[in-house]
Assembly symmetry: C2
Homo-oligomer: 426 residues x 2
Amino acid sequence: MDADDMVLVSVDDHLVEPPGMFDAHIPARFRDAAPRVVRKDDGSDVWTFNGAEIPNIGLNAVAGRPKAEYGVEPTAFDEMRPGCYDIHERIKDMNAGGLLGSMCFPSFPGFSGRLFAAAQDKDLALAVLQAYNDWHVDEWCAAYPGRFIPMGLIPLWDPQLAAAEVSRLAAKGVHSVTFTENPATLGYPSFHAAHWDPLWTACCDHSVVVSIHLGSSGKLAVTAPDAPVDVMITLQPMNICQAAADLLWSRVIKQFPQIRFALSEGGTGWIPYFLDRLDRTYDMHRLWTGQDFGDRMPSDVFREHFLTCFISDPVGIQLRHMIGIDNIAWECDYPHSDSSWPQSAEELEAVTAGVSDEDLDKICHENAMRWYSFDPFAHRSREHSTVSALRAEAAGHDVSIRSFDKGRFEKQIGVDLGELERRATA
Amino acid sequence: MDADDMVLVSVDDHLVEPPGMFDAHIPARFRDAAPRVVRKDDGSDVWTFNGAEIPNIGLNAVAGRPKAEYGVEPTAFDEMRPGCYDIHERIKDMNAGGLLGSMCFPSFPGFSGRLFAAAQDKDLALAVLQAYNDWHVDEWCAAYPGRFIPMGLIPLWDPQLAAAEVSRLAAKGVHSVTFTENPATLGYPSFHAAHWDPLWTACCDHSVVVSIHLGSSGKLAVTAPDAPVDVMITLQPMNICQAAADLLWSRVIKQFPQIRFALSEGGTGWIPYFLDRLDRTYDMHRLWTGQDFGDRMPSDVFREHFLTCFISDPVGIQLRHMIGIDNIAWECDYPHSDSSWPQSAEELEAVTAGVSDEDLDKICHENAMRWYSFDPFAHRSREHSTVSALRAEAAGHDVSIRSFDKGRFEKQIGVDLGELERRATA
């Protein structure tokens, strides 16, 4: 399929929360304690909450930057593309990238909102979390109906409150909540505890997908303190297989036949091997471990409960029918460093040569629509939803790759950008 | 290829060390402190050394047992197949399984020998380690020339001693040493430290492969204390990708162009995705992380330095040319629970339908021979090395699946084996 003809719904993008987002949503008595943005002496902007300072990490907002300027240094709002945090600019960037729909994970609260959970004052924590969700649904998503899959945070510290928030969000049309890869590493009961049952029940009752983003366990894949950062970057996606294995063998899957999980930013190429490994483990060991899926194999069970996704994954595309063609969605990952925005559609075209239109439509938008109960075509015809149609609406929008405040950046990383750029183009 | 016509060299099997193995090799002054076998009140046999007790774990010696009897309970020598620890019985089992060659990892010292490294008396530690190696090479392997790829343990606590042991072993014809997945998790400097350079130098000088077995980091993939054991079993092979990423991005690869690593029991189906991930990481991030492989991509570098292997991996076989047909070896994993012995050849035949004889010969024995400088055909013609030829020599050897002391086992696991077996055959 030509990039122009694709209809792209991304199940994993990110927003950088704008200053002032809580103003219209936080009850007055919590206003002073709500998170706020502070500019630091080094020129970077940080969120502050509950005694913590959370920088905007450069690598998480690099869309539109030259690769030589990627880095983990703290950054400022005026050094990012406005599309990171401004909804109107975001839509322009989405149009320029040919992106019809997008589900946006949070940034400063952590992928699963654990920053809020850390507050000792749980009334404050809940007020802030609900204000976040209301802003996300009523401002960010509502500004452009049919363009965003709304996603909520849940109170990690109380499964009853979590269930109540799922219900409250469902009434606002939300069918996705973000949860951690591993509650045990965050100090909560594990996936194997009945503790979380109220949450799973609410998600089943309201057709809400539990979206699990890589890196949400609070444990990075760091092999050694002196390991190059490349090691961590390489290993990130595959580490989500720990969550997949943990859940697949857990009581959650057996007790809640309607529960559904998404492995966000986890890639897909490793999954055929993983499914084979699940089935072999079951075949060799179930008689002493006591696992019992009746007449199904673990790979069948995986396909009933897990949505996977990729940015650009030639291996996963080749093996798509071993994974399950109804279990694969596409993601853009804007504005993170793994994204190819604004050329994502062209990258996808290159790695999907020979894939049927039927398969590609499932991967590009149909699976995302079905899993997340999302219907962009209620707001815009399919014909006006293609990459080329959206790009036509963005005519004139500047998507050129450019540096932001080179001087400050050079000082931060202590290198000569000119030298790096010569290497980049060599 | 018919199973009968295969020539099978396994790059990953295991031996259970027999009592008395140190007697002929340990200097007299260390005899009393050397490891010894003690029978416990519960009927199991344990090795004792340096104040530690190391049980023979049932799951590590289940060859020939019904699957319903697999388990992690401690076991006794008289409950294992003698092929686990008796070299003459091992050869009969190898012949019955059609297995020409085998590389045997240690059991009670840990895959990388860290039990010995823990001894405070380093003279004792070195004496025991060298006695172990001498027993392995001069008794276990030498009893049947051309049937074993000898493998040595190295002193983890001292890189100079490690280098010296590599040289000493090389003089005895050893081209493989076992090392840990991650020295940092064992409390040593990481792969990124110059600390280990004497070891890498010695391995390069003597064409010795550094064989890294899954589980040798001392850190199991345990997601939560209450996670079912199936989670850990499922995740074990893929976790070795951490070692692969750690080494690929390390200075070791760049400073020692001749160094070679084997990812033992790591499987292969995940590797095409992993290589794609390496190349994407390099493409997106090298300009700020500073990685530089000249005109090669990380996937090329991987193929120069890493041997992979599988027991039975339909995904890896399908993708063998994306992995590198010269980088894949086969393993039997006798007598562990993942092994299909004595039907390994038939299992391999089933998953390699359509694979050319040329590719299969590389996977089954040629790659192992080249990487490990191993030449079984100097001792036995190829014609007499096939599965069918070896099985003819084992005529009459009993390989039937049978229980060992059912009563003790039922008591240990508290279940009725008859019930489990009815489920097994249902």
